[in-house]
Amino acid sequence: MPNIRVTVDGVRYDDQVEARNLLVHYLREQLGKVGTPIGCDTSNCGACTVLLDGLSAKSCSVLAVQADGHDITTIEGLAADGRWHPLQRAFHEHHALQCGYCTPGMILAAIDLLRENPDPSDEEIREGLEGNLCRCTGYANIVAAVRAAAAEIRAAAAAPAPRASADPVPSAAAAAPSVEATP
């Protein structure tokens, strides 16, 4: 079996993988990174999207061996320095998730979208997330969340001083921040 060396969510792994194994199977079965879900078998749904060297990739359409030497970020590694990513916060505040199954992929795809286009129109957001399916939200709140996160990210880039109003990351999954949204 081939050997791969990858970094996943900041941790280095040196593993043997079956040559036919998909990256998503490696993440879920070998590393226990089950925060990345599988939603289809035809690369249509995008639920398993991760960042591969910062670019979004459907981890069902990448072989594990192809990830050799690369840096992978999953939804589990997205929060940094004790704070949620602006997209995680925006999805929460704008009710951009219901069952949450598509959410990891949707957020990671949106990160890549905003990297390419920091100030997208609604139409550009819709086109940019075309490869990620959601069955619950009807997408309107996802579009609103991505727009809001884009504005926050742009503002942060313009004024790099630390924000005072940042929400802390809950230390455990149970401790949800109670942010009141005013849609």
Binding site: E18, R28, V34, G35, T36, P37, I38, G39, C40, D41, T42, N44, C45, T74, I75, E76, L78, A79, W84, Q88, F91, H92, E93, H95, L97, Q98, C99, G100, Y101, C102, T103, P104, I107, D122, R126, E127, L129, G131, N132, L133, C134, R135, C136, T137, G138, Y139, A140, N141, I142, V143, P170, A173, A174, A176, P177, S178, V179, E180, A181, P183
Partner: protein
């Protein structure tokens, strides 16, 4: 929505408690569960729609690496029982046996005939090809009308017929209503077959624990599933624990007792080890139940001034190959809804359930009510066209006026409340109805190749399923109550146990809002527990927009009982009479005095310590309630849709969509909005995009996400939503339910808009989904290969 000082949480756009784990990947989907020694199951499925099984040989599979066992249906014939149908809608209904793994005959492509059990999922999947099944093909039965003809090939030869049941209803003198009518409009509408496609595929894990079993499943109905597993397998109910962990959407598709769940339980018992199965998406499209699939023959009779005299509906409902949990009940849920919000003198309905060699149909978001609403709202527009009347004006002349509530409809339902005038007025204003009509006139006059169409849908639905006595009268096998218990912990925190089983709806948040106000405790101090028959032993689960209406009412009642108990202890603590205490904001005070008070948390601690309680008072504030609703609730609304239809390419683009819904009192406007959005998306998808297609051999052509058009963000419009609030009078919260509203209302709104755009071209219908090809054929009259112009 405004909150009040007494109820600071109810009506607040509170962001959800559920989100943190979902946003950070700390989820507990069934497929995430990994148990030591677990074996993985894969199913050999029939490639034929209909065939006799003449041999199953899995000996070669057993030789493959990692394979532990293999079984055919015959190996489980003595213990697998028959998958249950809980809704035999008539006394003489034909309910064929439905073995979880086929033994003698397969009746739809994808039906399980054997399984392989291996140490890992890939080995199990690999071994499927080594299982040799011999089939003797039998004729596929695909067309409902052909299936009912004399001499038709039979799905179930033993039954002697492809007709499962005939369910009739007649109210009023239908002949008289039609005989004297100035106008009669008759149409045939097709409710195409749909695939619910929750984002999380089905999965099940079962662990044997001595004589008992814990079964995790991606299900909407852990409680119903437990009862049914016990009844199907004979394993005592007390030995089965069912857990629905995080569940990634359902939309009715996980309101089922599936072959794979039954077999996981039986395999775990036979092998003495945990077993796990997760469907692939393509497997799921073939074998997770489908929705809709009706042929609707509808006639409406009216006077020249538009007053409706009568309505006749004859349905053919495709059951698929077997009757699953509520398969036959779905069209019957719609039976009472065809008259919609309109007054009329007479109504007749019949539904014939038909067997075909396809995947069984069952509940899909709205379950019977979208089908009914589509038919009435479509034919109302056709009637308006016949009368040369604006479709909104025709509705105004026939709907129940707000001062007429409560109103008993021709179908015998008593609508408790509603204000169709207010919702319509608001929708018309937001939509710019008259401006759009003027633009439509201009574009029609100019012969614009891109025509503007305006669609109207003024809908209602029956929600809050359901009063048990009504379910009993409709021959449903269970009741419609819901249970809740509220536990005050010594530290003053609260655990709320609910029998509803959320899978994306946000019950943890909404129930916390209700309890926070009712008990006067902080929202953050409440934890909601659900979806585990050991943690929440009583429940009827989540479907039919019932959770808030019925389950929320149970939570309210349980809270009130906590307060009643606390009041007795508080009175003792404050040395006052109970009737002199008032309770507000979580504090008991002696009315009209400045005397010391007691918070509910202090009372809770006192009850825990139990050092000084009133005589005969038990040392607990914990309370529970089981609520059976007195009647249904009836959300309603007015949806308006503007489409631009390119008559040259057939492409439809939704230009604007306005939804004004009245779902009664709002607990959390953000969640309500989200439910409406998601419902709209699914209803629009039925109108424009989705259809499960079988080929002439009975193979599902749309068996992957690459072939079945689930809309993406780029395929859907933004929505303009608003609400009117007419509280329901059938429950103390005044809520009506919102999970299905958007789906029910939007499909006819969109198709009415498409047809409206094409009326100058003589088009009176476009079958769903209104694809560019179908629109183009409707405009041009060019026929397809089967001779249909549309």
């Amino acid at each position: 929505m405004t909150t009040t000082p007494e109820a600071p949480n109810l009506g607040r756009a509170q962001a959800r408690k559920e989100d943190a784990r979902l946003l950070t990947g700390r989820t507990n989907w069934t497929d995430n569960i990994r148990l030591p020694g677990a074996l993985h199951v894969a199913f050999v499925r029939s490639p034929l729609a209909h065939a006799r099984i003449t041999g199953v040989d899995y000996s070669a599979a057993l030789e493959l690496p990692g394979v532990v066992a293999a079984f055919s249906g015959a190996d489980f014939a003595d213990e697998q029982g028959s998958l249950p149908c809980a809704w035999p809608v008539t006394e003489d209904i034909v309910t064929p046996a439905h073995p979880p793994m086929a033994v003698d005959e397969v009746r739809y492509a994808g039906e399980a005939v054997a399984c392989v059990v291996a140490r890992d999922a890939q080995s199990a999947a690999d071994a499927l090809e080594a299982v040799d099944v011999d089939y003797e093909p039998l004729p596929a039965v695909l067309d409902m009308e052909a299936a009912l003809a004399d001499g038709a090939d039979l799905v179930h030869a033993d039954a002697g017929t492809n007709r499962s049941f005939l369910w009739p209803l007649t109210e009023g003198d239908v002949d008289a209503a039609f005989d004297g009518a100035d106008v009669v409009v008759t149409r045939r509408y097709r409710q195409q077959r749909l695939i619910p496609a929750a984002m999380e595929p089905r999965a099940v894990v079962c662990r044997p624990e001595g004589d008992s079993f814990t079964l995790w499943s991606a299900t909407q109905i852990p409680h119903v599933l437990r009862v049914m597993l016990a009844m199907t397998t004979g394993i005592p109910e007390q030995d089965i624990r069912v857990i629905a962990p995080d569940v990634g959407g359902g939309f009715g598709s996980k309101l089922q007792v599936t072959a794979e769940e039954v077999l996981a339980l039986l395999l775990a018992r036979r092998l003495g080890l945990p077993v796990k199965w997760t469907e692939t998406r393509s497997e799921g499209f073939q074998t997770t139940h489908h929705g809709r699939d009706q042929i609707q023959d509808v006639s409406i009779a009216a006077d020249a001034d538009g007053r409706i005299r009568g309505l006749k509906v004859d349905l053919l409902a495709d059951m698929g190959a077997y009757l699953m949990l509520v398969t036959p009940g779905v069209p019957i849920l719609g039976a009472l809804m065809f008259p919609g919000i309109y007054k009329m003198d007479a109504y007749s309905f019949s539904c014939t359930g038909v067997f075909t060699t396809k995947m069984p149909t069952d509940a899909y978001r709205g379950a019977g009510r979208p089908e009914a609403t589509y038919a009435i709202e479509r034919i109302m527009n056709e009637l308006a066209d016949e009368l040369g009347m604006d479709p909104l004006e025709l509705r105004r002349r026939n709907w129940i006026a707000h001062e007429e509530f409560p109103y008993t409809t021709i179908a015998g339902l008593t609508y408790d409340s509603g204000n169709y005038e207010a919702a319509t007025e608001r929708a018309v204003e937001l939509f710019g109805y008259s401006e759009l009509r003027a633009e439509q006139e201009r574009r029609r006059a100019a012969g614009d190749p891109v025509q503007l169409g305006i669609g109207v849908s003024t809908f209602t639905e029956m929600c809050g399923l359901a009063p048990s006595r009504v379910l009993g009268s409709l021959r449903y096998g269970a009741g419609g109550w819901e249970h809740a218990s509220v536990r005050m912990l010594p530290t003053g925190k609260v655990e709320v146990v609910t029998g509803s089983s959320a899978h994306g709806q946000g019950h943890e948040t909404a129930w916390s809002q209700i309890v926070a106000d009712r008990l006067g405790v902080p929202f953050e101090d409440i934890r909601v527990l659900h979806g585990d028959t050991q943690v929440a032993p009583r429940g009827m689960d989540t479907y039919g927009s019932r959770s808030l209406v019925v389950g929320g009412t149970a939570v309210v009642r349980a809270c009130d009982r906590v307060v009643d108990k606390a009041r007795a202890i508080a009175a003792h603590m404050l040395e006052a009479a109970e009737e002199d205490l008032e309770f507000s904001g979580g504090v008991f005070r002696v009315r009209g005095t400045e005397r010391p008070s007691a918070t509910i948390q202090e009372v809770s601690l006192a009850a825990f310590a139990a050092h000084d309680l009133p005589e005969e008072m038990e040392a607990s504030l914990d309370s529970e309630a089981t609520v059976d609703p007195d009647d249904f609730s009836y959300p309603h609304g007015t949806h308006l849709c503007a489409v631009e239809v390119d008559t040259e390419t057939g492409r439809t683009r939704i230009r604007s969509y306005v939804a004004v819904d009245d779902v009664g009192t709002i607990v959390n406007p953000m969640i309500v909005e989200g439910q409406v959005h998601g419902g709209l998306a699914q209803g629009i998808a039925q109108a424009l995009y989705e259809e499960a297609v079988y080929d002439t051999e009975g193979n599902l052509v749309t068996s992957t996400m690459a072939d079945y058009l689930l809309p993406s963000a780029a395929d859907l419009p933004d929505f303009t939503t608003d609400r009117t609030v007419t509280p329901s009078t059938t429950n103390p919260l005044g809520v009506k339910g919102v999970g299905e509203a958007g789906t029910i209302a939007s499909t006819p709104a969109v198709v009415n808009a498409v047809v409206d755009a094409l009326r100058p071209y003589g088009v009176r219908d476009v079958p769903m989904p209104c694809t560019p090809e179908r629109v183009w054929r409707a405009v041009t009259g060019v026929q397809d290969n089967e001779g249909a112009a549309q």
